[in-house]
Amino acid sequence: MKNLIIILVALFPALVWGQIDRSIRPTAGPAPTINIKNSEVFKTSNGITVILSENHSIPKVSFDLVMDSDPILEKEKAGLANIAGEMIKSGTSNRDKDKLDNEIDYIGASLSADQNSIFLSCLSKYTDKGLELMTDILFNANFPQSEFDRIVKQYESGLKAQKSNPGQMANSAKSKANFDNSHPYSEIMTEESLKNISLEDVNSYFKTVFTPKGSYLVVVGDINLEQTKELVEKYFVSWDGPAAYVNNTLKAKPANGGQVYFVNKPGAVQSVVSITYPIDVIPGSKDEIGMSVLNNLLGGSGFGSRLMQNLREDKAYTYGCYSGFNIDENGSTFSAGGNFRNDVTDSAITQILYEIGRMSKEAATDEELELIKSSMAGSFARSLERPQTIARFALKVTKYNLDKDYYTNYLKNLAAVNKDDLLLLAKKYLSAENVNIIVVGNESIINNLKPFDSNGKIEKLDAFGAKVVEIVAADITADKLIEKYILSVTESSSMKSAKKKLKKIKSYTKISELSAEQIPFPLQMTDVWITPNKEGNKMEAQGMTFNKSYFDGTSGGSSSMQGGKVKLSDDEIAKKSKSKGLFPELNYSTSGMIYSLKGIETIDGNPMYKLEYSDGESSNIDYFDKTTFLKMQTISTKKQGDEVVSTEMTFSDYRDTEGIMMPYSVSLAIGPMILVGTVKEIKINEKVNLDSFK
């Protein structure tokens, strides 16, 4: 038969060479109609929304049961949800794990579970059996201790392996950079947090999250509505549970300037780069289709995007460079990046930022816009080949209450996106200035990254996104350090002359100007001190006093515009009374301060002595420069009610002021607020009246 065909072909007029002009591109035939098949949606009496997408092209069926619970904050038990998800298939009261695994494999099915869902896929002739197994784990999972121990052990190994996987390392860093630590997305399982997770935690997690209320059952494949209804009735309606878990405190961490996060991967030949920040948008937003066009133009899936053309096709920095909006009901983000060989990592970042910035400055060309829209329309049409797509559409429409015709009108709405829309969206959602820049790579390139960081302070993270503290043992004692510090600030060669010098200083008044991005006008701060321990502080702006405080040796208090007047407690007075002198460090040994020298930590390449001290109320860390012994930074943490408040002060620009070295630049960070201060004036031994601070 095959030979016959060949003969027939050979009989055709030998060659038609002259008739074809190859320089003419074939034109398109009439556009095919794109039909989106309808999905059936119905709700069960126990609160499950069932979505059915029928497709009989292959004899397979799948059931995806997805919970409606919000993510849960795990704190010191970060990773609990992963362990719980992993445990779901560990056996039931009817079948131990071996039996369960055997029965799943026996029908050639795939049954998987994670922290939020259970998924079954099997040949349609085994649907009944598959559902019996699926609901057995849903209703009767019994979480045996032995399996828990085994899975924890597996995770211990997995965490170890994670330290060599650059993609995972970058993801951990991204989570930490983009989300506040009150947000579950910022939580990363570590060796430490894994130890804190117990079997009871797993049990209670499962009970909280796996409930029919608000859940979705997405059914796809070789099954009809009647069969689906029957099976749902048979297997799912007897299921009961509490209302879905709601988490109302899902805070992102808006990026402010450029912040570089570096994760060291020894021996890396490439850097994984991700430029990322949180964005404010939810699924189903009216901006979504436009954002999709915007992203495809910048760095979507095709070869034609700006990032791909610039970084791959023009500069050959990479195999692929992509961007994406991750639109998530619990916290959305933008990210762009790729893998780049070590020596072009910084150039690649420059180019990505350039392309991001260009999006909101230059309108797309007609050609670009048409290319992207056609490519997206094609991709939309291709996606319809998979029945899962239809189901996904239906799920989204139902879950986010979208217009029923959202997907039917998708192509029409896509076609309507214009250049001006894109510019507006770019301004709204894309920034090249306020960005977290994550780099996982070889330590040898870290210095090339400094220019991308607004304050030049690269934050080093470990494989799990935690801050890296590089600390070595100190070569001196705490008391010796304090001595060196005093000698340094008094510019003396002996403690005797230092103390003599300090004795001459009876009082000072320091006036500084503070500014912060969140405050439209500068603040004026006045600090006064009178020997041995009287002090006052006030903050003013535009003729108003916002805040003042004082201590006159026996009593004290503060008053602020919001808080009114507060007196110092007896306890506080006792503490203040003990802390004497211009440099209270000199009295640490007698004032009841608990202090110790932790070692030498390298911060931004500068070795610093780290002195920890606590008066029982607040815990503090002072950093002293290893060469000059000057105090460069103080971090204080104090409990206020249930909250821990942390204040970070940075000192620089030390100048001689009547024989004493004083910092003329002081910045203050309280939570997200950063106040940058410059000392305008320091007056020594002039008369000071504390009354104006009371």
Partner: protein, 489 residues
């Protein structure tokens, strides 16, 4: 009870029969040697246009490893009628998508287009086949891109070099000694003559299979096949034409002792000049030749033990055995044996090494069947602190069991069901179908194998599984490759 259960299961099985969907297709050869396969599937208005060139890394010369894959990248650079950078744009701006991949044995290009752009897809592939064009900027860019691909996929990923390391040791004096990504040095060494020769030798219609699937009209598609691919010259005439397009007058004359002006640029094959006519006739009947040595040696004959030090935290172990070519009838049984050992959670190796003994984080294996040889690879990443010698001991126990005992009826039925599920799933997209059709034709000489694959597995008996386990899982000829953290060195 167990037996009863098995009996019931068997009953269900026979009642329902196998679920494989029949794939209809037409196939034929063009006079220039191009093999054409067409499959109509109208569910979604899209088409897949693909061309499989029967050239992979095994056709590379030593010193030029990685060339076939590098060349694949270059063939997106354009043609006589497509400017650099336009190829992707034409596809994407017409609602399509495209890509390619290179294996040890073949290079595969495809476009997925809306069905009304089928002709465009065919034109694009015919341009690539007739007269692809590459300039220096393109070469240098793609050279770097390929190197980045290697860094991203292999050099910078933990354990990712294992295939390279295994092939290096298993296939000695064999063109599978290296893998498609090749080496950085060889990529740098590529010269202009290499590109020209490679294109002229391997990118000819007689070395290609055009497979088109999707929402198409067979008669119309055949017409377009004739128009765009039927017009590509046979034999060496294609290279005469390429030289005519690419060489300077002087070089052309040097090569063919004839002036370019003797040919008609618009209607090349029908040039009127008698000398040109003669030369064209000669080259049309001068077949292109591809040297394909059939029987490579280079199998392992002893136990090889070696260690790779990598940027990893957990140690790993890879055991490899000599396997036959993928077209060897034993391959069906080998794949089923493989499923018994590592297919799914209930598989023997997972149950013992990972779950019961807790010696490993995971275990996986695959029968790597290729056209001119095969290797069975078993890999396992050890648990934190696990001893690899103990792991090997436990692994060997499982190998010895499958060699010495017949698999149970229940296990046997299980893997049959798994295979059925796999095969049903494998033809769920038109992209998958067009690729499977082409592969079956090229590697197995039977396009229809796409429809009989399941039968092949269903013929395998329990005894076959035991037999191939004994024959191929040889204790005295295998590779034991350890991966250890660099700090251990």
């Amino acid at each position: 009870m167990k037996q009863l259960l098995c009996l019931c299961a068997l009953l269900i099985f026979t009642q329902n029969g196998h679920a494989q969907k029949k794939i209809d297709y037409v196939e034929y050869d063009l006079p220039n040697g191009l093999h054409v396969i067409l499959h109509q599937e109208k569910t979604t208005p899209i088409v897949a246009v693909s061309v499989l060139y029967h050239v992979g890394s095994k056709n590379e010369n030593i010193g030029r490893t990685g060339f076939a894959h590098f060349f694949e990248h270059l063939l997106f650079e354009g043609s006589a009628n497509i400017e650099r950078g336009e190829y992707d744009k034409i596809v994407e701006s017409n609602g399509g998508t495209l890509n390619a991949n290179t294996s040890n044995d073949r290079t595969y290009y495809f476009e997925l287009m809306p069905s009304n752009q089928l002709e465009l897809g065919m034109w694009l592939e015919s341009e690539r086949m007739l007269h692809a064009k590459v300039n220096i900027k393109g070469i240098e860019t793609q050279r770097s891109v390929v190197k980045e691909e290697k860094r991203q996929r292999i050099d910078n990923q933990p354990y990712a070099s294992f295939i390279t390391e295994i092939f290096k040791r298993v296939f000695v004096n064999h063109p599978y000694n290296w893998v498609p990504i090749g080496s950085m040095e060889d990529l740098d060494a590529a010269q202009e003559a290499d590109y020209v020769n490679f294109y002229k030798t391997f990118y000819v219609p007689s070395n290609a299979t055009l497979s088109i699937a999707g929402d198409l009209d067979i008669a119309q598609t055949k017409e377009w096949v004739q128009k765009y691919f039927g017009s590509i010259p046979s034999g060496q005439a294609i290279n005469l034409y390429r030289d005519f397009e690419n060489l300077s007058d002087e070089d052309f004359k040097k090569t063919y002792s004839l002036d370019k002006s003797a040919f008609d640029a618009k209607d090349f094959l029908n040039s009127r000049d008698p000398q040109a006519k003669k030369l064209i006739a000669k080259e049309l009947s001068n077949p292109t030749k591809i040297n394909r040595p059939e029987n490579y040696k280079g199998k392992m004959t002893t136990v090889i033990k070696d260690t790779v030090y990598d940027n990893i935290q957990l140690p790993a172990m890879f055991i490899s055995y000599n396997f036959p070519n993928e077209s060897n009838p034993d391959f069906y049984a080998l794949e089923m044996m493989n499923d018994i050992l590592s297919g799914g959670n209930s598989s023997r190796l997972n149950k013992t090494l990972v779950e019961k003994k807790e010696l490993a984080v995971n275990v996986f294996s695959f029968p790597y069947g290729m056209e001119a040889g095969g290797v069975g690879i078993f890999g396992t990443i050890g648990s934190n602190g696990a001893n690899l010698d103990t792991l090997l001991l436990e692994f060997d126990k499982q190998i010895s069991t499958i060699q010495n005992e017949l698999v149970s009826q229940e296990e046997f039925e299980k893997i049959r069901n798994q295979k059925e599920n796999d095969i049903v799933s494998s033809n769920s997209t038109i992209a998958g179908i067009s690729e499977n059709l082409a592969n079956n034709y090229v590697y197995f000489g039977s396009t229809n194998r796409i429809n009989t694959l399941l039968d092949g597995y269903m013929k395998v008996t329990k005894e076959d599984i035991q037999r191939v386990a004994k024959k191929y899982l040889t204790q005295d000829a295998r590779l034991i490759l350890y991966y250890l953290p660099k700090d251990n060195k």
